[in-house]
Every structure is written in C-alpha cells, then in structure tokens.
C-alpha cells in the first residue's frame, strides 16, 4: 500500500456520494441501551458511556432500520461516529472502541488500593445514627492490637497496587493515636523498602485534634477527613456529644487542621439524616462558607444502628427532593462565578461526559469491594467494605472475608470473595444489564443484602436503583436544557480526572 502507484485519474475531484462505503441501505446495531429522559426526549448510551439525546420515537426508528442515510444525514453520522451503528458487522474502528472500553475499566488495573484500618471502635460521641461505635474505656476489647496492625500492614503491601492508601477509621480514630503513629511509621518504612506509594488518611470527628497531633500529621503528610453535617443545629442534632457541641469542635478542628496542614489537606463528609432533609440550602451554604470546594451529598446508609432508628428512616423520594434543592443551590454558586461541586454528581458526570472513569466503591462495575477497598476491623476481622463491618455489628457476617490470620489468597480470592464476585458486575445483573445508565452506575451487593436480604438484589423496588437512576436522569435533563449548566458540569467532570 505504501508504494502504490499513483493513478493520474485519481486526482480528479469526486463528489461526497462517492465516498459512501455502504453499498446497501442497511446498517448493523452495536450494543447500546435506551431510556426516557423527559416527556419528549429519550437517551441512548453505548458501551463506553457516550450518549445521544433524541426526540421520542427515534430509538424505535433506529432499531427498526428505518433511518434514511440522506434524509437523516446528521443523525446517521452521529450514530456511526459514536459507535451506535456500523455499516459493517464488525465496525472498522472496533479497536478504538476496545481501547475506550479498557479506559473505562482502568480502575480495575491495580486491584485493591484503599485499606481501611478500624483502629478503634471506641468513641466519645453518641450519634443517634451511628452504626458501630462504643463509648467505653476498654482498649483491649475495642482497639486494634499491635499484632493485628502488623498483619494488616503485611496484607496491604501484598496488594499488586503500586500505590496503596491506609485510612484510619473508628469509632474515633484519635482515641488510638499512639497506634496510628505505630502503623504509619511501620507502613512508611515498608513502602520505602518495596517502592510503593503510600497515602495516609485519618478519619476523625476532630474533637480530640490538637497541634501536637497535627504537627505529626504534617511531618508524615497525613490527610484529615472529618464529618460535617451542615450548620450547627443540624450537625449537633445528628452528632451528639455529651456536654459539648460537636459542631463547634469540628469547626475549630477544621480551622486548626487547615492552619497546620494547609487548606486542601482537610476534607469533610456529610451524612444526610431525616433532619437534614429540611435544610438542603443551609447545608450547602455551610460548606461553601467554610471554603470547601464542594460537598458530597450522601444519603444515610441503611446499615447498623441506622435502620433500627425511626429518626433516621426516610424515603428515597425525600432524599431526591433534598438532593435537587441542594444541587440548585450549588449551581447558583457556580452561576455567580464560583467553583463549587457536588461530588456525587461529579462522579456521574465524569462517567457521562469524559472518556475516563473514577473508581468509587458502589458506582463501579465490577464493584469496588475487594477490587478497590478492603476493611481490617478492630478485632482482626477482614471485611469487603466499610458497610460490611457495620453489618457485622448486627451479627451479620455475610461479607466477612476472614480474619487477619488468614492468608492473602484465601481472603481476596477465597469462597466468600467468589460468592460476591458472582453479583458484583451490573453488566450481569437482571434489571441492570439492560439499563441505559449501566455504564454510569455500579453494583452494590452489600446494599442489596442489607436492604433486600440477598446480594443479587431486586431492581424494581431497589432504593439504590431508584436514587441513582433519578440523579443521573436529572443531571442529563439539567445540562441538556441549559448550556450554562452543561459548561459547569463539563468543568466538574474534567477536574475529577486530573
């Protein structure tokens, strides 16, 4: 082909019709799925998450092969260019599609990254929705032993991931700060020896934070992750601390942490409770006021103590209303020139608008449990996710993979892991396999088990499904009806990939 003889006649210009590679008025369908977005719009999404928004009925015309290449030239071009249809049984750019698919699944490349050490179950708070913590002085029973810390670190460095994250959770992790120091220093030594990257995070309510602890965090480049549920009346109601305001301590802690570590070394997570539902704007405002770059609007997880507390029960519908009001408020900030994100939306938008993906435990497929995250409990139990160990506090050990005394292969590839692996890919779950939003969503066997009693789950009345589908639909509706919002969303999506 390289030395092909140039044909003089070929230099005569030809018309566009002569470059039609399709001799028959026929085309082939590539895998894609559809969903109604609004009363008059439907969406089609291909295997790598590219979408086209179409007027109602177009999907049917496409699959019934009713498109006319000339009359529907723009649409036909869009469908070919975006891997929805092909003029050949195997599309000429199938290798490009394969590369794009690999890119979307890149989060699987390195296996487990996040290693959660439940360093102590003890806590000085008595939050009404708390799923696990104990108010006690009994360190022997509720702190992770040095022996178990050693074993956890050993397993962590068996991960093939070139960069591992070690996250200390509680209870209140700072109640066992000496053990954290031990773990950090040991892990740092090994990371250096074996040449792995190591990120360290302390999750804390910050009530016990002080300059000495922070100086240590600074020296060891430890990130701080805290809880903040909103303004004082929301936060203090959610997070009860005897004889003190949890909110005031958290705010003081955030300020001090920022002062010592730097503004961006401190993050905050909120939990939505029944009370929170009435304050979407106030909660957003609080995060904005405190100088955060965004907020993660999380619904309360249905685990542990939470399910048993009437105060925390609410319906997904109410959460969605809350979510939309809060998102409106966030968009207002963006309209007036601020960069302020909603981080659940940011995860979805990265999947919807970019060729990349983000690994997030229940919004990826295969799910992030075991693949992305593992939990070493205070008592030496090894669990698939943070939520799994909360179930264990209710004596439900479904997602207990074993203990720190087991070997790596048994924990990560053993019977329990295999059982979970059967149901961790939404491509292979009924109700998900045909869902237009499959590429944007994920699988959550733990949630299915906790809410519906089996890991496989039943989509028609799944609150996970209801919540995610509506948020995704809403995000698409918003940006397709307002180009300003689309620009903002594109910006959010971009920054989460860099």
């Amino acid at each position: 082909m390289i030395n092909e003889k140039a044909d003089k006649r070929s230099r005569k210009f030809r018309e566009i019709d002569q470059f039609d590679l399709n001799e028959q008025p026929q085309y082939y369908l590539l895998p894609f799925r559809f969903h109604r977005i609004t009363d008059d719009k439907e969406i089609i999404v291909n295997e790598v998450g590219d979408y086209l928004l179409l007027s109602n009925g177009t999907f049917e015309r496409i699959v019934k092969r009713q498109l006319d290449k000339k009359k529907d030239a723009d649409l036909y071009g869009d469908l070919i260019a975006n891997f929805f249809i092909s003029e050949e049984p195997i599309p000429p750019l199938i290798d490009v599609l394969a590369t794009r698919y690999r890119t979307k699944k890149l989060f699987l490349n390195y296996f487990t990254g996040l290693h959660i050490f439940v360093i102590s179950l003890r806590c000085e708070h008595t939050c009404h929705y708390c799923q696990v913590s104990r108010v006690t002085q009994n360190k022997d029973l509720y702190d992770m032993s040095i022996a178990n810390i050693d074993k956890g670190i050993d397993i962590m460095f068996k991960s093939p991931n070139p960069h591992v994250t070690m996250e200390f959770q509680g209870g209140e992790s700072l109640l066992a700060f000496d053990n954290i120091k031990y773990a950090v220093e040991k892990a740092e030594r090994i990371a250096k020896e074996v040449g792995k990257g190591l990120t360290k995070v302390i999750c804390s309510n910050l009530a016990l934070i002080n300059e000495e602890i922070l100086e240590y965090c600074k020296e060891h480049e430890i990130l701080i992750s805290t809880s903040l549920d909103g303004p004082q009346y929301v936060h203090d109601n959610n997070r009860h601390k005897p004889h003190a305001s949890s909110y005031e301590l958290a705010i003081k802690g955030i300020e001090l942490s920022r002062k010592v570590l730097g503004h961006d070394r401190v993050s905050a997570l909120m939990t939505t409770t029944k009370l929170s539902l009435d304050y979407p704007v106030e909660i957003v405002d609080e995060y904005f006021r405190l100088g955060f770059q965004g907020i993660f609007l999380r619904n309360i997880s249905p685990y542990g103590f939470a399910l048993r507390t009437d105060k925390s029960k609410y319906e997904t519908e109410k959460f969605l209303t809350f979510y939309k009001k809060a998102l409106d408020r966030i968009l207002e900030y963006n309209f007036s020139g601020h960069y302020f994100t909603e981080d659940l939306a940011k995860i979805f938008l990265t999947k919807i608008l970019t060729p990349f993906n983000v690994g997030f435990v229940d919004l990826q497929s295969p799910a992030g449990l075991i693949n992305g995250v593992i939990v070493f409990n205070y008592d030496g139990g090894v669990y698939a996710t943070d939520e799994s160990r909360m179930l264990a506090e209710q004596k439900d050990y479904t997602f207990k993979l074993g203990t720190l005394d087991d070997n790596y292969n048994d924990l990560f590839f053993g019977k329990k892991a295999q059982e979970i692996a059967n149901v961790w890919a939404n491509e292979a779950l009924s109700g998900c396999s045909e869902c237009a939003f499959q590429q944007y969503c994920g699988a959550d066997p733990v949630h299915n088990h906790a809410t519906q009693g089996d890991m496989y789950g039943y989509r028609p009345n799944s609150d996970f499904c209801q919540k995610n589908m509506e948020i995704i639909r809403y995000l698409i509706e918003l940006m397709e009806s307002d180009s300003r919002i689309k620009k903002i969303f594109e910006r959010w999506a971009k920054t989460s990939t860099h």
Binding site: R11, I80, P355
Partner: protein, 378 residues
C-alpha cells in the same frame, strides 16, 4: 520571499548540498562560496563550488560553478542550499528563520480539496532523500524547530525511518514537527517502527476534518482515509508518539465541527495539541473555492464552541491563520502567529490596527481571498 534562483551550471554532475558563505576564510568541504564580482584565483581550501553573479565565467580548475545568477541577496551567511545539475539553487535551510521545513516527497495518497501544496505523482523519493541526507548534518545543532512536510512523508517507506533516525542522531535537541495524514500508521508495525526511533522531540501533526468518515474521506478525497487516520492515531499513541490534530476550517468541515471537538476529546484525549486552521487560498483551494469558502466571520460561533469545549476539557488548543479582528476577544488567547515569515502579510487597512503586533495576519496568498470582516482594532 525568494527561496529559489537559477544560474548556468558547469561541472555539476549530481545535486550538491552545502552552506553558503561570502567569506573565503570560512570555506570548508561543505560550503559554497558566493561571489558577486569576478575572481581570478580559487581559494586554496577544499570546498563544494562557487555560486556567482558574473555573466561570464572561465573555469579555473574544473571547479563546480553556477554563474549568471540574478541575485544572491536572499542568501544569508550559513544558509544551506541545494544546487541541481540544471543550475537550480534552492534554499533548503535559512539560519535566520524558525520555520525551516524538509520536503520529504511531493507524492501523496490523499488529494485534499484544499491542499496548499498539491501532490505530484512523479517518484521523487530517492532524489529528495539524498538531498535531505546531505542537508541534515549541515543544519546547526542549535536549530530550535524543524518541520518535515510533503506530500505524504510516510510514502518514503523504509527511507522515512532512515530519515528520522538520522535526524535524531544529528539534531538531538531540535523539535521535529512532522506533517502526515497518519493513514500509514493504521498498520501497527509502522507505528511500532516509529516508536523504536524514540525521539521525544518528534511531534506528528495529523489532520482530522470530521467525526464522520464520509465527510472526512470526501474532504481528503480518499476512501477509508478517516478510519485509517483514527487507527493510525491510536497506534501512534500506543507507542507513545506525541500527536497534534489539525483541522482546516471550511464549508465542508464547519457543519460537524463541534461534534468533531467532542469526538477528539472522547476518542483521542491523548493528543497533545489541537490546531484549528484557517483556509489557505493557494494550491487546490482556488479551484475548489465554491465547495470550500465560508467567511471565517460566519463560522466564529462554531469555532468558538469547539475551541472552548476542548480547552475546557484541559486540552491544549490553538487557532491558526485567523486575524484577531475576526475572533471574539476572549478567544484571542488561542490565536497564534502561525504563518511562516516568508508567506505572512497584512491588508493595507491593517496598518492602523493597534493589535497588529499580536496578530498572525494572513497568508500572502489570502490577500486576494479573505474575510469581509477584517477591520483595524482601535
């Protein structure tokens, strides 16, 4: 700007390549002596030959000579020329320019409607290769940037890789910008071979004119070109080649331009640079002007949307060949002074413009076909 001249040759048996100098002291075995007046004796050094303006010339000692050359004024000390057996003197490299380009071949496997340098079907590959092979070692090692253009350089086959290997050896510090349609790299082994050369300073500029194959294939007048180019880009990326996508703006490419921008981000996010380029009124373009012309002012919305989208996704974007007065001010930051010095000009009305120094202006040949909306900025 004058880049070629011609005189009467004597003793020239094959194409010669060398630097020019007016100073006999600087002569060496790789240089020509430029002579304005007459000379009575030859420098005692070994040198290639003499380029002279004299009307008559007596050969002194069977030296290579071209005489009766109308002018030598355009040649600077150190410029590199080729001298053909027919007495043609082509400037191959100008020391005072940042826009030097090696011509790889004039053959091409595409036939773009708006080609600025229409391909020729004669086989010039060996001849040009021999000239470039002599030229490359003479180029100053501090040369900042060197282009390689065609035609389609990859049609050189094995010689293409020989040329690039030689460049990497001789000019390790020079940024190399290769213009190719990328189609050849649809064959993985071609991309692999380029990867083996491993020149981190090599950037390939590859045109993609539409996200839909039929439009692209029509514009480049070659069946399957789009699929080959996209596969080529992917193969090149696999072997870590640095890539630039080049989009020429005209009536055929504008209707799907914003879709193309999305396509690039989704399917080619690894490209290092995306250049949106105004149409050149030269080569095939005047012949096809009915199919191609759209006043740049008329497509400013589409261009703006495409540019801002890609820039918003963190990609590096430029607008070439487009005067500032055509663009909204918020897009000036993307506009580059892209037109090589020797083919760059401005309209008479531009003389009063306060932004003249920041403006890329027009191709000389676009002075007769330009936007109706060019006006001085005050």
């Amino acid at each position: 700007m004058l880049l070629r001249t011609k005189g009467k040759p004597i003793n020239i048996k094959s194409a010669l390549v060398g630097k020019v100098t007016r100073n006999p002291e600087r002569l060496d075995e790789n240089s020509f002596l430029l002579v304005e007046g007459s000379i009575s004796e030859l420098p005692s050094k070994n040198f290639i030959g003499i380029l002279s303006r004299q009307d008559e010339y007596e050969v002194i000692n069977s030296e290579n000579i071209v005489f009766k050359i109308p002018t030598l004024e355009h040649l600077m000390e150190g410029d590199i020329v080729s001298v053909g057996i027919d007495g043609n003197i082509n400037t191959l490299y100008r020391v005072n320019s940042f826009h030097n380009t090696l011509l790889a071949t004039e053959r091409c496997n595409s036939n773009c409607l708006m080609c600025s340098q229409p391909p020729k079907d004669k086989n010039d590959i060996n001849n040009l290769y021999e000239i470039n092979k002599k030229l490359i070692p003479l180029i100053p090692k501090d040369c900042i940037e060197l282009g390689i253009s065609g035609g389609e350089p990859t049609l050189m086959g094995d010689l293409f890789f020989d040329l690039l290997s030689q460049i990497k050896t001789e000019l390790p510090d020079t940024e190399i910008h290769l213009l190719t349609n990328g189609r050849t790299f649809a064959w993985d082994y071609m991309a692999e071979r380029l990867g083996e050369i491993d020149n981190k300073r090599l950037m390939l500029g590859i045109p993609v004119y539409s996200d839909y194959y039929q439009v692209h294939d029509y514009i480049v007048q070659a069946e399957n070109a789009f699929y080959q180019t996209i596969l080529g880009l992917h193969n090149l990326a696999r072997y870590n080649q640095r890539l630039e996508v080049r989009i020429v703006l005209h009536k055929q490419s504008i209707p799907r331009l914003t879709r193309l921008a999305k396509y690039i981000y989704k399917n080619l996010p690894f490209v290092e640079h995306v250049a949106f380029m105004g149409l050149e009124y030269i080569g095939y373009t005047p012949h096809n002007i009915e199919k191609l012309w759209i006043d740049p002012y008329e497509y400013r919305d589409e261009l703006g949307e495409a540019v801002e989208y890609l820039a918003g996704q963190g990609m590096h974007v430029s607008i070439y060949n487009t005067p500032l007065c055509i663009l909204p001010e918020n897009q000036w930051k993307f506009a580059r002074k892209s037109i090589s010095d020797w083919k760059n000009d401005y309209l008479p009305i531009c003389s009063t413009c306060t932004k003249l120094n920041d403006c890329g202006g027009l191709f000389t040949w676009n002075l007769k076909k330009h936007s109706e909306h060019i006006k001085p900025i005050h």
